[in-house]
């Protein structure tokens, strides 16, 4: 098996979902690498800024977390996302999965340019660019209308067996020609249809041009996707000269229900390898442990004293409470709860107990 690429630190089998049903090849490569604790935190109370390797580890966690889900790469006209899509393709191919690319926007040669030879071997390209409406009547190629669960799984079945990644370049092209519900239903059914044909689709990568669609459509797709990466331009001064730094804001939805959000600068080196360039210095990390002291103390600015000193507190504890019974009376009361009620009378200091019967004085 090819040596694993240095920038991917993979997690050893610790009960992660992919480890249970990984290919033998994948398992071998996983056992070579050590473990790393990926620390992308939940956007909960804390927002910690991590070290540099967290970003790269974050890329790794994306792969380990996906299980037949949709990964959406959202770009705009200011910053293109196809190079990021190609890095995911390269990573997938390096993991030993076959990659089925459904290309509609750029020709095949342009898509294959820049990949290493071992990546292009695993790449199976379905050409939807040359003849999308089938005017020439030639066999081969892929038509837009064929994008249904059955059509896609039919194309997948022609490739080698084993785990497969489906890449859509781009989803926007399909959405401009077909209604969204049909496309979403097809995307949802692709893993099931492929499974019935004997394949295993690990994930579906889709490139979406965010500014081509109404915001409702983009929001809907984001809610359906398992992970969303938004690509935008980075401000100047990030990274060394020669790279084109970009900002990736990632949103990942795990199976346990947790939602991870992270922003990171990255650049893409030759051979489509990503390189993390650190995080934006946005929000100041707020530690919630300092909060109780900063909370408004209601007893602070009053004209009377509401606080207790220690001696005062002890004096308060020492005051005898009413109905303060002796210990044995308490225990007997507690034990005898099931029997008939007994009357306990403890005379206090002001009581005058006279045993004589007052009726004896009567002269009748």
């Amino acid at each position: 098996p090819p040596p694993p690429p240095p920038y991917f630190i993979e997690q050893a089998a610790r009960g992660s979902p992919t480890s249970q049903h990984g290919a033998a090849q994948g398992r071998a490569s996983r056992s070579v690498c050590g473990t790393v604790a990926v620390r992308c935190e939940v956007i909960g109370r804390r927002r910690r800024r991590g070290a540099g390797e967290e970003g790269v580890g974050c890329w790794a966690s994306w792969w380990l977390g996906q299980r037949g889900g949709l990964v959406l790469i959202e770009d705009t006209i200011e910053c293109e996302g196809r190079s990021l899509l190609k890095t995911f393709v390269a990573a997938s191919a390096h993991r030993g999965e076959s990659v089925h690319v459904f290309g509609f926007e750029i020709p095949e040669e342009e898509f294959r340019a820049g990949f290493d030879p071992d990546v292009t071997v695993r790449l199976l390209y379905q050409d939807g660019f040359t003849d999308p409406l089938r005017w020439t009547g030639e066999a081969g190629g892929f038509c837009g209308e064929e994008f249904t669960a059955l059509g896609v799984s039919g194309q997948l079945a022609r490739g080698p067996a084993g785990p497969a990644t489906v890449v859509l370049d781009s989803l926007s092209w399909l959405l401009l020609r077909q209604p969204l519900p049909a496309v979403c239903q097809a995307l949802g059914r692709i893993p099931m249809a492929a499974a019935s044909a004997g394949l295993r689709v690990t994930r579906i990568l889709a490139l979406l041009h965010g500014d081509l669609h109404p915001p409702g459509l983009v929001e809907t797709l984001r809610s359906l996707a398992r992970a969303v990466v938004g690509v935008g331009p980075a401000p100047e001064g990030v990274g060394s000269g020669g790279d084109t730094p970009r900002l990736a804001s990632m949103l990942q939805r795990k199976e346990t229900g947790k939602v991870l959000e992270k922003e990171e600068y990255f650049t893409i080196l030759a051979g489509f390898t990503p390189k993390a360039l650190g995080e934006p210095t946005g929000s100041v990390p707020r530690d919630e442990d300092t909060d109780p002291h900063s909370m408004a103390d209601p007893a602070a600015n009053l004209t009377f004293n509401l606080r207790l000193s220690d001696t005062e507190r002890r004096a308060r504890d020492g005051v005898p409470l009413p109905f303060h019974f002796s210990a044995q009376k308490k225990s007997s009361l507690l034990e005898a709860s099931a029997s008939a009620g007994k009357i306990y009378y403890e005379p206090d200091a002001a009581d005058d107990l006279d045993e004589e019967d007052p009726d004896d004085d009567l002269d009748v």
């Binding site: 209604p179 049909a182 239903q185 409702g216 459509l217």
Partner: protein, 391 residues
């Protein structure tokens, strides 16, 4: 008022020593897991969350529809959905699970496990100890010593005779418990593949099939009284996940001008008719934040009985607000049904927040002031007491 089940509680339960005096002959055959409401005389079901039952005025009435407006990532609405179904399992009701995204069998496998009495009794909530003064320890109470041998009321869930149970979110329900109930499924891709002759982008198609399926189950299993000789009646709990999302074939979530703007409202109208004429209750989650045309949500609210909206703090600026630091989100009760009355008699509190712990999902007032000497839980506990007093 103590939660008197129709059978009464024996003193050995520790709950109460009062017994309801009902002559044995006139006792109606009660359906498991229900209790009559003292307000409007309807039969009430538990929604799976005792604190949500308090907010809704005792529970969900049989024959009504509970609509949950999903939070942004659908986490907590999914949890409420699961609590509802898990309550059905514990009470022995029949389930009908419909989804377009996940297989209903997978949904049922991930339901939370119920907590029974002996497990939970030992784990005392810290809030209950804060109500006594600081110097009292748990073992010997100085002031309230008569009560120290009694178990804590209304925190410990009892066996399935009680109304409303607690669930442990970290564990899933055991397969034996799942097998003991009868459940029906509706998975839209499966239905579509079985009958592919109808076009997949016809959005009323998915809704029509679902309605037909529900009607068929109600009729076949006799929930609408079609088999009067069947003595043991049961409730059908229907759960529909993410209705109105694109996976059902409806495009109200993506455009302002959908193709058929009324298909969801028609569905709800027919569904409510089916519910009213049968012994069933339904929970539906709707991705309301995605629906573009706000008029649709107004109509949907009108056509449902109980509408609860969830708003989670994940990713929003309220997350770091110190007022909300113990809570995971807000609950907005948009509508409570007016059954057999002109007004709904549940207090209109607007600031409810929810907090999710592993064993408890509590809904509390969000506007508490921190107390200087003790933790702020005193006030929240007092408010929870007032919930109990009113129900």
């Amino acid at each position: 008022m103590a939660a008197l089940a129709t059978g009464g509680a024996t003193p050995s339960d520790g709950a109460t020593s009062f017994q309801r005096k009902v002559p044995a002959s006139s006792r109606l055959a009660a359906i498991a897991g229900t209790r009559p409401s003292v307000r409007h005389g309807q039969l009430l079901l538990s929604s799976g969350l005792p604190s949500l039952d308090c907010v809704l005025g005792g529970g969900l009435a049989v024959g009504t529809l509970l609509l949950i407006e999903e939070d942004k990532y659908g986490i907590y609405s999914n949890l409420l959905f699961k609590y509802f179904l898990a309550e059905g399992i514990v009470c022995g009701h029949n389930l009908f699970v419909a989804s377009a995204k996940e297989d209903p069998a997978d949904i049922l496998k991930e339901l939370p496990a119920p907590l029974f009495d002996d497990v939970h009794k030992n784990q005392v909530d810290e809030k209950e100890t804060a109500i006594k003064s600081k110097q009292e320890s748990q073992e010997s109470m100085k002031i309230a010593w008569r009560y120290q041998n009694l178990p804590k009321m209304e925190v410990s869930p009892a066996a399935s005779a009680r109304f409303g149970h607690y669930y442990d979110v970290s564990k899933t329900v055991s397969p034996e418990l799942l097998k003991s109930i009868k459940w029906h499924r509706f998975f839209l891709p499966e239905e579509m593949s079985l009958h592919p002759e109808i076009k997949t982008c016809n959005m009323t198609c998915g809704y029509t099939r679902l309605l037909q399926s529900i009607q068929r189950i109600i009729y076949q299993e006799g929930f609408d009284g079609s088999y009067p000789q069947k003595k043991q009646k049961n409730i059908l709990r229907i759960g529909i996940q993410s209705l109105g999302s694109v996976l059902w074939g409806d495009d109200i979530c993506c455009t302002d001008n959908p193709e058929d703007i009324f298909s969801l409202t028609k569905f709800l109208y027919v569904l409510r008719g089916l519910l009213r004429m049968s012994l069933s209750a339904c929970i539906i989650t709707v991705p309301a934040h995605l629906i573009q045309n706000k008029a649709i949500m107004e109509r949907v609210t009108n056509l449902s009985d109980t509408v609860v909206g969830l708003e989670s703090f994940i990713g929003s600026e309220r997350e770091t607000n110190p007022l909300y630091k113990d809570y995971q989100g807000l609950i907005h009760v948009h509508q409570i049904p007016r059954l057999n009355s002109l007004i709904c008699d549940v207090s209109g509190t607007k600031d409810l927040a929810f907090r999710l712990k592993r064993k408890q999902f509590t809904i509390e007032f969000a506007d508490h002031q921190p107390c200087a000497s003790q933790k702020e839980h005193i006030l929240t506990f007092k408010h929870r007491l007032s919930f109990r007093a009113s129900s």
